[in-house]
Every structure is written in structure tokens, then in C-alpha cells.
Symmetry: C2
């Protein structure tokens, strides 16, 4: 870690480095954060998979949020991208820009969050940098992993006739966000579950490793199910039709919002699901189900790649096609 | 590139993506920035070298600075780290956080700066992310390169008896910064040269590639020559003695500040030199000079690794040792 001249005192930065150094202990190529760079030995017959993601105060979290969940969000967003490509994460680089307002106790909890997730996902800190910022606290993570050569699951491989699947449940984070914004109300376990789904992504890494066995295309669902399948449709040059009635909702979200068409449309256009949407040939359905069972990951068939010009068509609860008028789907 | 919900319109973000996509055209593993991740094939008998660096408005640059030089600074700071390790850069990831105040014309020049440097240094954009930020414009670059297996030049290899060298001239950026802060005054070519040295690092990549042939330890000089040699001394567990009278100053800096002891001390404790300081056995001196000549890189012998407890001793112009009272050297 380098520590450019800053408004924090040298002593404070030394403390910060002491906090981060233990996170790098298990990766030899981090050199205890005491060199200019990190070094990563190659892995035979694998290619490297790389993803960088910034998590920004006021955009992805608020300073009042638990520092533990901020750390988790910062690591798990790029982990979810690796999961959707069939990759296995190994190490990450961290660039953190700290405003003066951040207390060392905040940082200690943040580092504890990183440490817990390192354990859970088998990753380690390879290197990084701490800077002072006059602006918003910004955590940029570059996640680095491996995929067997030629086995990266792209967005571009969806083909007419393929079935379209999604892991887990959709819309929970949108429900959690609505609760936090007081646009909806419930309490108890339901509330906790939905808010946790907003704050703490659960990247589908175990299931992701099975994707290369059957998936023709895959994407991490972060902008919203329809928006992200739109990316697959565009890049693959195919039309994807999804059946709203098949989209899996959690019991908690159904209790909050019901299961009418409006709810389903909100669910498929909300963001932050961090599930995996993928296409696979019909002939692979048994393998999909077996992988899901073996890795304890719920999967649901929600649609199909059909003939037509590239895009996503959504079939509503009464079978009619719902026109999606918005372009890009990220703004409702 | 992903574009989370933001205060910029979707159309603006599409424009931004159009700006960045051409930077990724020459690297197949960037997938035209149209997938979740970037993929990098392994390079036989090489290890990967990784460095992440944030360049922040109000810390490393001002919004009034030329966007071209901001782009150059963002890329060249981590390039200089790779140079000091004997590594060859290949691709980079870019995470950019944009406040509303940034105009598209600013971005166009910024991208032009990236494009020029990609050409100059033979690198390409592998992937990235654009976000809106309520705070300071922040550019985080993760630079990725290669070094032949086992040939990474560490900070830890300096040994008693080694000579200590530095490339180029020291203190120019400190002189440029003093001019910008109106703490000093000169004009014409002298002023332009010193300010350019502050704004635009010139990473010593060509010379860096020769380092593994002779260097026992090396470091990128960014915090200040004495501070950075302090890191080498600490990690190598040796005492480094540098002779102030040997430290190379440019004609421009000498004209501005003279060459008295006070000037020399300012030069060795200023930052942003982006030169390489390294140690090498005495027996390697001829190889050092040959590499310097072959790669048109000035090098100067400035000191020696001596017996004593770890740290840096500075011998002044009249031969007496100057006590360096500050710890860490980054704050004068």
C-alpha cells in the first residue's frame, strides 16, 4: 500500500496499514503489502478473469450503513460477476479513498467484514492503496480469478431454442430498498430478510462453477432481470421471451407485495439481485437440475430463446405480451 | 462496463461507453466491454504483476488541470510501479467515478489521453466501470503486466556492499509543484519543463525491463527518494547511505533553486519523481551502465548499502551525516 501525502496524519495511515496487512497474510504474492506490486503465479491451463467495481458512499451505501455490510457489498458485487462466468476467485486488490469523517472504528469493522468474507469465499487481499479523498468514501475492488481455458461462459452464446433459467429468487433487493425508503412497510423476519438481500449480495459461486457444463450464455443479475437478459439478447443477437408467471419470488416478497402483474414487473426490473440468469439447450435441463441439487441452489426455468429480433419480450400473467417501452431498463 | 442507477441520464452513460469502447478494441479479452468480466490468457513461464492506484480530484489533480494529463497521471503512476519491478504492462482495468460537474468534452479529452498513452506504452483497456459520484472525480486504474517467472525485482534484496543507483533526475516534480503553488518563480522553458515533470510521469519501462539482470532491489520513487529508499532499507533489513552531492538534479531545477544543501534536501524529500531507485552488487556496475546506455536512460550512483541498523543515512555536501528526524519522510 502506498500512502500519498494526505490530511490524515502519518500515524493514522500506519494504523490503517496495520489493519489491512493481516488480510494479505495468506497470499505470498502480496509480499505483506510491502512492495510496489502484487505477483500472481500462473495456473496451468486456466485463463485469468478480472473485474473491477467501485462501491461509493451515497450511491451504493450510506455512511450510516454497517461497515461490515459495506465491505461485503464491495467484495460480493464483483464476486457475483465471476460466479456468472464460471470462474473461481482467488485474490483481490483494494483501492480505498477515505474522507476525514471516517473514524478508525468504522475502518476496523470494515476490515472485519473483509476478513469474514475472505474466509467464506476463500480469497485473500493481494495489494492495494489507501488515499485521502475530499469527496465520498469510495472502495474499488479488482477481483481476480481463474477459469479453465476456453470455458468462460459468455453473454454471447444464447441460441434459438435454448431455455432461460435463473437462480434463487428475484426482486427481494428491490423489496428491501422499498422498505428502507419507506415506500412499503412490514416488520419482523420478513423485513430483515428483504433488507439483508438488499445490503448483502449472496454470489452464486458454487453453482457458477457448474455453468460451463451446460450454459450457452450467462449474466450476473444486478441491473434487473429484464435489463440483464437484454444484454444477453443484444450480444447474442437473439430474442428472449420470459414468462412472468414463472419468475421465482420469495415468500417474503410475496407477503409484502402480493403476486400480481405489477409486483412481478417491479421484481424483474429492480436491481441488486446478484442471481445468475443463463441460457442452456433443452437437452441440458437434467444436468442443470442435477447441478442445482448438488450445490443446493434453487433454479427456475423462466423462459426461452425464440425466433425474432434481438430483445426481451415479457409475457404477462394472462399470457399477453407486455410492451417494455423503456430502453435499457435501468430507469423506472 | 456496468452503469448503476445514477443522476446522469441513460443516454449520457451510453455516450460514455461509446467513448471507452474503442480503447478496448485491440484486446480480445475485453469482449468490447460487453461482458461481465475481462479474460486474460496466461503467458508461458511468466507471473502476473498487479498494481491498483487511485487518482483523485483535489488530491492528485484539480478539475482545472488538462484532462489529458489527468489520464496520463492515472495510467503512468501504476506503470511506474511495474517498471520498477522489471515487469512489462499489457492491459488495465478502469473504474471511474464521475460527479455531475464533469462535461462530456472533459471526458473526450480524458479518453484521448488514455488512447495516446495506450499507443505509447503498448497497453489496452481490458474492462471497467463508470459510476456517478456525489464526491470527487476518482479514477482507479488496475495495471496488469508480466514478469518472467522468479524475476520480479523485490524491495527486499538489498545487501551490504551493494551500490545504490537512481534513474533520471530527482526533485523536478517538487520544483514544478513549488512553481504551481507560487512558492518559487521562473518562466519559459524551465518553468514548462518542471511543471510537466510534476503533471506527467515518465515511467522508466524500457530500463525497468533490464533490472532483473543486475538489481538486487528496486523501488519506484514516488513518495520521495529518501522515503522510498527507506522502504527498501526496512524491507531488506539494511542501512543505505546516500551521498547528497551525487544526487542528480536537472539543469532546470539547479537554475531554479541552486545546488546548496537545502535544495538537495528538498529534492530528495519531494515526491512524484517516478524514477527508479535500485541497488546492485558492485560487480554489476558495468552491466548497469551498459543497460542505461542501451536504453537511453541516465543512471547515477548515489550511495551504498553499509553496515548498520536498517534505515537511510544522508551524507551532506560537506561530508557530515544529516540527521533525518522525521519518521516516514512523507511530511516535511
Amino acid at each position: 500500500m502506498t500512502t500519498p501525502r494526505t490530511d490524515r496524519s502519518q500515524g493514522e495511515f500506519e494504523l490503517i496499514e496495520r489493519l489491512f496487512a493481516p488480510l494479505a497474510r495468506e497470499f505470498a504474492g502480496a509480499f505483506d503489502l510491502k512492495d510496489d506490486v502484487a505477483a500472481l503465479p500462473p495456473k496451468a491451463h486456466h485463463e485469468l478473469v478480472l473485474k473491477t467495481d467501485s462501491t461509493i458512499e451515497g450511491v451504493h451505501f450510506l455512511l450510516g450503513d454497517s461497515p461490515l455490510t459495506v465491505a461485503q457489498k464491495a467484495l460480493r458485487r464483483p464476486l457475483s460477476d465471476l460466479a456468472a462466468k464460471g470462474a473461481e476467485p482467488q485474490v483481490y486488490l483494494l483501492a480505498i479513498a477515505l474522507p476525514d469523517s471516517v473514524e478508525n472504528t468504522w475502518l476496523e469493522s470494515f476490515v472485519e467484514g473483509l476478513a469474514q468474507d475472505q474466509k467464506q469465499f476463500g480469497i485473500a487481499l493481494a495489494g492495494g492503496e489507501t488515499n485521502w479523498t475530499p469527496g465520498a468514501l469510495t472502495v474499488t475492488v479488482t477481483m481476480i480469478g481463474w477459469v479453465p481455458e476456453g470455458r468462460l461462459v459468455r453473454r454471447s452464446g444464447a441460441r434459438e431454442g435454448d431455455e432461460v433459467w435463473v437462480t434463487g429468487t428475484i426482486g427481494d433487493a428491490a423489496g428491501g430498498l422499498a422498505l428502507l425508503k419507506h415506500e412499503a412497510a412490514t416488520d419482523g423476519a420478513e423485513r430483515d430478510y428483504l433488507i439483508a438481500r438488499f445490503h448483502v449480495p449472496q454470489p452464486r459461486l458454487a453453482f457458477g462453477l457448474a455453468l460451463p457444463e451446460f450454459a450457452s450464455a450467462a449474466i450476473d443479475v444486478s441491473d434487473g432481470l429484464v435489463a440483464d437478459l437484454g444484454h444477453v439478447a443484444d450480444v447474442s443477437g437473439v430474442k428472449i421471451e420470459i414468462d412472468l408467471s414463472c419468475v421465482p419470488l420469495s415468500a417474503e416478497l410475496s407477503a409484502l407485495w402480493g403476486r400480481d402483474e405489477e409486483t412481478m414487473l417491479r421484481a424483474v426490473s429492480g436491481g441488486d439481485d446478484y442471481e445468475i440468469a443463463f441460457s442452456a439447450p433443452t437437452s441440458a435441463a437434467k444436468r442443470v437440475m442435477a447441478a442445482a441439487a448438488g450445490r443446493r441452489t434453487p433454479v427456475t426455468r423462466i423462459g426461452r430463446v425464440v425466433e425474432g429480433s434481438p430483445g426481451v419480450a415479457v409475457r404477462g400473467l394472462r399470457g399477453r405480451e407486455i410492451p417494455m417501452l423503456y430502453k435499457g431498463y435501468t430507469h423506472f
